[in-house]
Structure formats: structure tokens, C-alpha cells
């Protein structure tokens, strides 16, 4: 294996916005993320690029979340929020440290008049969900327990089973169409490993 790239963490993620004031109010004033950097520039580069503002909020732990505001443009269709789980798959989940903080966050969101979409207990996290002014899904989550070596090993087994099924389907094997296949493939490998152990 080659040496991995020496990543030190997330610097920023970025998405476009056509709602400058609302985005600043939401991220700076509601979520409490300080505005720490703003680029204002003429469009440049090889594409017919609009003039823009590119601004960054401190997201904690050395990370920022950034937006591009393209001056004088309308949002292209492919950026428009839609009610579809595949659109919502692109989202940012913000960490709080306790369940009390999660509930406090929920109360503040609702007090701000923002509709709460869900509160969901997952395997190791509990989360609330709501939209930012751009229609981007925002999650706030509390992790119930730390990940352990068991989680790491289990994640590898799950994803390796998925990769094997994907590879088989790509080369003319069985269609990869249901999670049951992953669970069965994972069990086959796991039982072999148990016999050897």
C-alpha cells in the first residue's frame, strides 16, 4: 500500500447559495458559527464564471463550512432543493456532546420558526433534522458511545461484502438489488473466519 495522503482533518466543505442574508443569519446567528473569512472576487478562470462572494463559518475543531454566492445569477435547476432522499444524502451533521444539548438545540430551532423534520435514534447516534434556508438538510447529532475496534471490523466486513456483490454484478453475476444479499455474504465470510479462529 502506498503511503496515505497526510490529511489533518476537514478544512472546509462548500455549497452554493442564492440567499446571502438568510444563510448568514442561519449559520452565524442561529447555529452560532462565527463568520471568519470572506473572499469577494471577479469571476475568473476558463469558464464564464460569475463574480462571487465565498464566505466561511468556523465549524469547530479547525474546520469551516463555506458558501459561494454568485452575484446576479439565478440558481440552475440542478442546484434546486428537491424532496428526494438522494438530494438529502448530501448533508452536514453537526455534533453536540449530550442528549440535553440535542434537545436544547431542537427547542431553539423550533423557537426560530424552523420546522423540525425528524428526531431519529440511529445505531450509535441520535439526531434531529431540519432544512437550512437553501433547502439543504442539516442534522444535529449526539453520539451515544464511541466507535470501538468492533465497529471498525464490522464496517470492513459490511463494505467488503457490498464491494464483492457490486463486482459480481458488474461482471455479469447476480444483480445486486437487496440488502439481504449483503447480510448473507457477510455471514458466509464471518462463519468461515469463525471456523478458522
Amino acid at each position: 500500500m502506498p503511503q496515505p495522503i497526510p490529511i489533518a482533518g476537514v478544512h472546509h466543505t462548500a455549497r452554493p447559495t442564492w440567499k446571502l442574508a438568510e444563510t448568514v443569519r442561519f449559520y452565524r446567528d442561529l447555529l452560532g458559527l462565527p463568520l471568519v473569512h470572506a473572499i469577494s472576487a471577479r469571476g475568473w478562470g476558463t469558464e464564464d464564471h460569475a463574480d462571487f462572494l465565498h464566505f466561511f463559518f468556523d465549524a469547530g475543531a479547525g474546520a469551516t463550512i463555506a458558501f459561494f454566492y454568485y452575484i446576479g445569477t439565478e440558481p440552475p435547476e440542478f442546484t434546486l432543493a428537491r424532496d428526494d432522499y438522494r438530494f438529502r444524502a448530501t448533508h452536514t451533521a453537526w455534533r453536540v456532546e449530550t442528549r440535553e444539548q440535542l434537545l436544547e438545540c431542537r427547542a431553539k430551532v423550533e423557537a426560530a420558526g424552523i420546522p423540525l423534520k425528524h428526531q431519529i435514534r440511529h445505531e450509535v447516534i441520535e439526531s434531529i433534522y431540519f432544512d437550512d434556508p437553501n433547502g439543504y438538510l442539516v442534522e444535529v447529532t449526539w453520539q451515544v458511545r464511541p466507535f470501538t475496534s468492533l465497529d471498525v471490523d464490522d464496517a470492513r466486513r459490511t463494505i467488503e461484502a457490498g464491494i464483492a456483490l457490486e463486482a459480481a454484478a458488474r461482471t455479469g453475476g447476480a444483480r445486486f438489488g437487496a440488502i439481504e444479499q449483503v447480510w448473507q455474504a457477510k455471514a458466509r465470510v464471518l462463519e468461515q473466519d469463525m471456523e478458522r479462529a
Partner: protein, 85 residues
């Protein structure tokens, strides 16, 4: 005999406890970090009896499955012998 493998972590522990309390269900392990639950003919669980919220319920077989899902809806799962069609 249908069988499920359950990762030995707190969020899935109700499966193990429920199976242990049942006549005819065998629970062994944990081995390599997984409990093994099996029963002759059929394995059945109900979400509410396990106290599982929907998100965890729908991933409850993530540890592994030896058998075929005959029924798995929002409230009940039924696993029988066999492989996926």
C-alpha cells in the same frame, strides 16, 4: 437452521436477550465480536418487543444472515432456511 449474527454492541443487545429468553432459540458467543442466534425452522422477532426504534430495527440483521427473509416489515421479521432468490 436459520441463523443471525449479532454484533456485540449495546444497540443490538436486545436481540440477544430476547433470544436467550426464548425456548428453542440457541445463543452462542460472542465469537470474533458476534453473537450467533439460531432456531429450528424459523427465527421471528417483533420490533416493539425488542424496544427498537425504526432506524435500528431496519438494520438489525447487519451482523449477518444465514437463511432467507420471509417477512421483514416495520413491525415483524421472519427468517427461514434458504438463500436469496
Amino acid at each position: 437452521m436459520p441463523k443471525i449474527l449479532v454484533l456485540d454492541v449495546p444497540e443490538f443487545r436486545p436481540l440477544v436477550e430476547e433470544a436467550r429468553a426464548r425456548t428453542g432459540y440457541t445463543v452462542t458467543g460472542p465469537r470474533l465480536g458476534y453473537w450467533r442466534i439460531e432456531a429450528p425452522g424459523v427465527l421471528e422477532f417483533r420490533r416493539k418487543a425488542l424496544g427498537f426504534k425504526p432506524a435500528v430495527w431496519h438494520g438489525a440483521l447487519t451482523g449477518g444472515l444465514v437463511g432467507r427473509i420471509e417477512r421483514f416489515d416495520n413491525e415483524e421479521m421472519r427468517i427461514v432456511d434458504g438463500s436469496a432468490p
